[in-house]
């Protein structure tokens, strides 16, 4: 059994309150999480102990159905969910952490840390498998955070609108 931990960071061009608001919506993950094709079940605002379900892309044309359980909420700071349905990845945990920062031009922004922890049970084969899948996972995590930034920007009403 091999445990893995993958971490990516990005700055979201929006105040942490707004980022938290979007991330807390379990019905909206298909709008910004790369690989989430659709949310098939949700409970609205994330609540500890409750679940939501997604249809996800995995490798190439392969698809999977996943179910996530919200296990920890520290408002505006940290959110932890555990997921099943990603075999051969097991014990999948997704962790979002947020920290208020300032952008170069002084605006409120948010540093987001996106971490995924998981186990692959296949010994050396598991290492090889992770060598294949981890770059794609990292790319998806970076894309997700870029998508989140774009989503928030797209919903910002211009002063002239």
């Amino acid at each position: 059994m091999t445990e893995f931990q993958v971490t990516e960071r990005a700055v979201i061009d929006a105040p942490v309150e707004r980022v938290w608001e979007v991330v807390s919506r379990t019905d909206r993950y298909a709008e910004w999480v790369a690989g989430a094709i659709e949310v098939t079940d949700h409970h609205g605002i994330a609540t500890v102990g409750r679940t939501y379900a997604e249809r996800n892309r995995t490798l190439g044309p392969l698809r999977t159905d996943s179910v996530w359980t919200v296990v920890e909420i520290d408002p505006l700071r940290r959110r932890v969910d555990t997921g099943v349905g990603f075999a051969p990845l097991k014990d999948v945990t997704s962790i979002f952490e947020f920290q208020p920062v300032r952008s170069a031009d002084g605006r409120e922004a948010t540093q987001m840390t996106y971490q995924v922890e998981y186990v692959i049970d296949l010994g050396p084969l598991g290492l090889a498998l992770d060598w294949i899948q981890q770059p794609a996972m990292r790319a998806n995590m970076r894309t997700s955070m870029a998508n989140l930034s774009t989503l928030i920007r797209s919903e910002t009403i211009n002063a002239r609108d």
Partner: protein
């Protein structure tokens, strides 16, 4: 009788009289009224809304400029609307903007020129699909689709089933659905195969058989041109010509026929006429109180001709900035995007810039009930995939959800599910005593389009004049 006049009725309500009452001041009703007035009839047009134009609606951009949030395109073989527009002094201009188009599939955007999206996996099947559609539509008589050689078989399945039976893949069906998303406000699975092939057969005129290419095309096709001043201007000009004969905010609630004529009860008073032309969407016609009742087959037909679900989403910018980057503003989007098809909808002088996208069918079902801000964001993200992130820098954003219009209740046209055309189709425009029917859904050519509306209005007027 050449003018309308009024008398107090026995029930105390003011009752006015005319040779003909036309119900509905969209293109069909106004065209019929115009023809009848020209033939010397006294006419009253009763319109439920406080405006004319029906599914044609201009949005004011300021400085005398408009963009359309209803029907807007015209093209070759649509000679009836083009002739009418010319008569009322409304000019056309080429809708297509020079520049490349963008094809977005699963979030990846690719620029292309011409009409063929750069998708090597989908195109072979798409070619086969178009050839089959062309061949099958050619066998469907535009005036009587239920008489097509294999009408019952075709009307026993959805269009999607018919396409897939020919081993046409999901990719090609999805590309066809891009077109149907705006044309039906739905998908291939919503409509009967017979209805869909008939719909294609109407993309022409008496001497030019209908083709998919003409129906879906931009230059040289149904999206070839737009009206200077917006399409609603054609209706406004006709209403002006009718000089006081159009009565707004007058929804009709009841139509009673007797041996001497027809009584039309509206919120703006009662009318007595020799004959009536009903030019409202079929489903809404079925909701009027009829005395005597509509023939049950006709009533059933009208109940089975609901409009699709369609919203037009319009973003306004200082300038059409995408043009300077070599883009036409036209995009085709696949893979879950709320907008499947979009166009540069700027006024003819090129400023301000306007992007317009259709949000229809299952995308409408997914997004119509979402908070307006989230829907707006999703639409702008679709636009951004085609023209870049400046799509977020709007100066205005407008949505027109045609399902929320009480006197339309959907858009853009009626879509028949399996079984409707073969079981009830022959009742389509059949006169009911002193009542005649008009509306784009009753036309054998350009059914559901502006040209179909004008044709139907002309046909109803001719039928009525021959009968009187």
């Amino acid at each position: 009788m050449t003018s309308t006049h009024g008398t107090p009725a026995a029930n105390g309500r003011w009752s006015r009289e005319a040779d003909v009452v036309v119900i509905g001041a969209g293109l069909a009703g106004l065209t019929a009224a115009r023809e009848l007035v020209a033939a010397g009839k006294s006419v009253a047009v009763l319109e439920a809304r406080d405006r004319v134009g029906g599914r044609l609606l201009n949005h004011d951009l300021g400085d005398g400029r408009v963009t359309e949030i209803g029907g807007q395109f015209v093209g070759p073989t649509q000679n009836h609307i083009l002739a009418l527009a010319k008569e009322v002094g409304v000019a056309t201009y080429q809708a297509a903007v020079p520049g490349e188009r963008v094809y977005v599939h699963d979030g990846r955007a690719r620029r292309f020129s011409g009409h063929t999206p750069p998708d090597l996996f989908a195109l072979p099947d798409m070619g086969i699909a178009l050839a089959r559609i062309e061949q099958a539509a050619g066998k469907v008589p535009p005036a009587a689709p239920w008489q097509a050689p294999n009408a019952r078989d075709l009307d026993g399945m959805t269009y999607e089933t018919w396409l897939r039976k020919a081993e046409i893949t999901g990719d090609a069906v999805d590309l066809i659905n891009i077109f149907l998303n705006s044309a039906y406000g739905g998908e291939a699975r919503d409509a009967s195969a017979l209805f869909s092939l008939w719909y294609v057969s109407t993309f022409g005129d008496e001497t030019h058989p209908g083709t998919m290419e003409r129906g879906t095309g931009t230059s040289g096709g149904a999206q070839d041109s737009r009206f200077v001043g917006g399409s609603q201007l054609v209706a406004i000009r006709m209403a002006e010509e009718l000089d006081g004969r159009v009565h707004l905010s007058a929804p009709v609630r009841r139509i009673s026929q007797d041996a001497g004529g027809v009584t039309v009860i509206s919120d703006a008073g009662d009318w007595r006429a020799d004959q009536v032309i009903v030019a409202v969407p079929p489903l809404l016609a079925s909701r009027i109180v009829w005395d005597p009742l509509l023939p049950p087959q006709q009533d059933q037909l009208f109940q089975r001709l609901p409009f699709g679900t369609l919203m037009k989403c319009v973003a306004v910018y200082d300038t059409p900035f995408w043009r300077a980057e070599g883009l036409s503003g036209m995009g085709l989007l696949r893979g879950g995007s709320p907008i499947r098809e979009m166009f540069d909808n700027s006024p003819p002088d090129g400023g301000p810039g306007v992007l317009m996208g259709f949000l229809g069918g299952k995308e409408w079902r997914k997004w119509a009930h979402r908070p307006a801000g989230e829907r707006r964001g999703a639409v702008l993200r679709s636009f951004a995939q085609v023209v870049g992130e400046r799509a977020f820098d709007t100066v205005d954003y407008v949505e027109q959800d045609w399902t929320a219009e009480q006197w339309t209740q959907g858009g853009p046209t009626s879509v028949a599910a399996p079984g409707v055309l073969t079981e009830y189709g022959e009742w389509m425009g059949r006169r009911f005593g002193r009542v005649h029917w008009a509306g784009s859904e009753f036309s054998p050519y350009w059914n559901g389009f502006m040209d179909g509306a004008v044709r139907s209005g002309e046909h109803a007027a001719t039928e009525l004049l021959h009968q009187s």
